[in-house]
Structures are given as structure tokens and as C-alpha cells.
């Protein structure tokens, strides 16, 4: 399971890549896409939406389940990945690059410090997999 070192993470399986001081890219992790299986559609927020940390900003639907996507920090939706409307499966094939979900203009960059590091996140998914018994 890939967990890029220079990304930050949430306990709800979003990843965060800091692009500039207050602009971040958000997506769902390799672990999340693997759990969901073949992704068949997405619900994206609108550009300009103001979002609170932890607020739901969209949904990712696989053949067997739908999973909500949450804002890792508070801010304004600056861009959404329209490519996902035509080819949602790109989340499966490239979750950390082409499969990004939204870009957010961060309101308070200090919130970024509260996110999990790659090491924290790896520990989390190891624990989850152990709990599943496999």
C-alpha cells in the first residue's frame, strides 16, 4: 500500500499535498481506493464552496459502496478535478496524482499541523488491517 512520505493524511483516509503556502490538493488514499474497489462515480463540491474542517465535501462511489470525502482543513474550494466525472476509475489507477479530488485554499495553515504524517498514517492502516484479521 503506497503512502507517499511528503503527503499528510487524515484518519478518514484523505491525503493532503501542500502546493503553496495556503493551497492544498486533497484526494483519497491508496488504502481507501483499494478498500472501495472499482470506482464508478464521484460527487464533487462546487468551486467557491466554503468548507469547515471535517465537513463532508463529496462522495466516491464504487461498484459495491459509497464513501464520503471530508475536508481535512477549513477553507474555500479553489478547484475540483473534473476529469473524475468522465473517468472516476483514475482514482483506482493513480490515487495520489491524476486521481486528486479538490484543491482547497486554506483558511488557517496551522490546521495543517494537526494532520497525520505518513508514518502516523502507515501505523493507522497497519492497525486497521490487523483488526480485520488478515
Amino acid at each position: 500500500m503506497a503512502v507517499p512520505k511528503y503527503y499528510r493524511y487524515t484518519e478518514s483516509h484523505e491525503w493532503v499535498k501542500v502546493e503553496e503556502d495556503n493551497l492544498i490538493t486533497v484526494g483519497i488514499t491508496d488504502y481507501a481506493q483499494e478498500k472501495l474497489g472499482d470506482i464508478v462515480s464521484v460527487e464533487l463540491p462546487r468551486v467557491g464552496d466554503e468548507v469547515e474542517r471535517g465537513e463532508r465535501i463529496g462522495m466516491v462511489d464504487s461498484q459495491k459502496a459509497s464513501s464520503e470525502v471530508f475536508a481535512p482543513v477549513s477553507g474555500v474550494i479553489a478547484e475540483v478535478n473534473d476529469l473524475l466525472n468522465d473517468d472516476p476509475a483514475v482514482i483506482n489507477s493513480d490515487p495520489y496524482e491524476e486521481g486528486w479530488f479538490v484543491r482547497i485554499e486554506v483558511e488557517d495553515t496551522e490546521q495543517l499541523d494537526d494532520l497525520l504524517t505518513a508514518d502516523d498514517y502507515e501505523e493507522l492502516i497497519t492497525r486497521l488491517e490487523e483488526e480485520e484479521g488478515e
Partner: protein
Amino acid sequence: MGDGLRRTALYDNHVSAKAKMVPFAGYLMPVQYDGIVAEHLRVRTAVGVFDVSHMGELELLGPKALAVVQRIVTNDVGSVRPGKAVYTPACLESGGIVDDMIVYKVSDEDIFICVNAANKDKDYKWFVQQAHGECEVRDRSDEFSQVAVQGPKAPELLGRLFGSDVPGMKPFTFVRKTYKGADVIVATTGYTGEPGGEVYMPNEVASTMWTELLDAGADLGVGPAGLGARDTLRLEMKYCLYGNDIDDTTTPLEAGIGWTVKFNKGDFVGRDALLRQKEEGLKRALVAFVVEDKGIPRHGYELYADGRRVGQVTSGTLSPSLKVPVGLGYVEVPFDRPGTKIEVDLRGLRRASARVVEPPLYRHI
């Protein structure tokens, strides 16, 4: 293995085939092998084999076995000849569904019943309680493995293993066969809407049979299919899944399987309540619907019509055959009429427009 989950006799076969295994009804079961869509389409166009060994098997034995089953289930097992299988719910006095099942009539004194995996302990207790000691009730679930062979090429494949008489069998009938020295039951039943059957066998021959089905059907395009495809296939047919679409708070009449309730066969548990519901008219009904824009309905999502909540989704998926989102759900009468416009609330994000349709959602053209 410390996870408390049981393995079927085919567990090693699934692991070798690189299946994704998930916990289901206390078992570790294959949810998919090479992908739900590929497996689904394989069953619609060729043939797929499913391990459904988690299902439960009960047996009623004795001179009063038929009378007992007639009292417990809503459909009529009395009027059919031995060798017939009957799909039926069993109900509470309230008319709520205890479980839905297939009853195989071996003889009036020997009734074999396949029940849902998650309900088998509850069902066994219910049958024992309702039998009042008039016949023997045995839970044989641990002795049996079950493999479903489904698809347009399934009858031919079953014929290759079990004899040339099998492809000509009528739907919902069964025969006893010998396979590698073991007694097996080959039934033309299923849960996909495709021809084919389900084979009940002792655990000892399951792995051999599984391998032989895959080898013998190679030229027919056979492949394994998991619980994921089983769910999308049954959903396209509007076959109910216990725990999703039906449970002890819903009746067979509401679920649209009123044809399984035979009021004229004599008394049975739930008859009074069901008759009253029939006479008073239904307040809600399970419908099939097609979503006309984007958004996949899921169990528990709310359904709207005329600007108010009129029901909720019980099952939903992106139909692999139709390539559009489809679902099942209960709606207030009269919003159950085919053609009615409804809306699916996507967890408050948006409402997707949908249309009630006459089931099944998918049929061969």
C-alpha cells in the same frame, strides 16, 4: 486463525485464485476475483460459479414433515410433486418475514430447505419451535457445501459433470446424483435470473467439484464469481436480499412477492395478518427504480416525491448490465406505480431524479 471467522471447504481455492475475501455472515467469503463487473457480465453472457457454502440447510423428517412445513411457510409445498423446489418466505404471526428460503420436496416425509446464512440459527430455532415435536428438524449446514452454476452456458456445464438429463430439467426442480462416490443434489434453482443450478454436496468433494467445473467449462468461458456479482445480479432481477430489502418488519405483500402467499392452502403462521393487510390494501410497496442522472442509491438513502419523503432505498448499485444506477426501495402507495417520478436523496448532497419501473430491471432481449 484468531479472527473468529469460518472458512468454507473452498477457502484455499479462493485464496489461490487471488480472491478478495471479506467477512460475511460469520464466514470469510470471496467478494470478487477479477472484478464485480467482469464476473457479473460473465454470468449474463457465459457461466459463473459461486461458492455459496455459507448458506444454511435444514431438514424436516417424519410422517408429519409436510404438514409442519405447510404451517411454517406461506407458499404451497403440498400441491407440488416430489422433485420440485419452491421459493417461499416464512412469516411471524405479524406477517413480518422470518426468512426467505427454497424448500425442496424430496417426499412428504423428507423436506430439505436452503436458508440464508445469517439466519440459519434463528431459522432452526423457529422451525423447532413451530414443529411442536411433530417431526424431526435437523440443521445440516455444517455438512454441506453449495456451489451455484449460473449463466446461459450453465446447463451445458452441469450436463458435462452430472449427466445429459440435467440440461433438460425444468426450472425449480432437482435430482439426486452421485459425484465421486458422494450423494449430491443438483437443483435448477438460482439467484441471478440466469439458467443453471445450485449443487449441494458433502464438504469432502467440494474442492474437487469446483476445480472440475472450472476445467470442464473452460471452452464455455466459465470463471468464478463472488458475492459482489451475486448481489448486482440479484438486484437487477429485483430478487430480495434478507436484511436489506426484507426483514421481520416487512411482509411478502409489501415486498412484491405476494405470489408466494397461498391463502387457500390452509392455515399457516402469519395468514391472518397477511389477509388483513391484503383486504385493507398496502400502505407501502417495494419498487425497482432507475436513476436518470448521476448518483448511486444505497441502503438507507431517502426517497422523495412531490417534495416530501415517501420512502427509502433498500438496495442500490450501478447496474453492470445497463450501465445506469438502479435501486430497490419501499415507497408509499401510490408512488409505487411504474412510471412514477421519484428522487433519491444522496445523503443530503443532492437529489437525483429516478423513475419507478416494472421489474425485472434487466431482461434478455
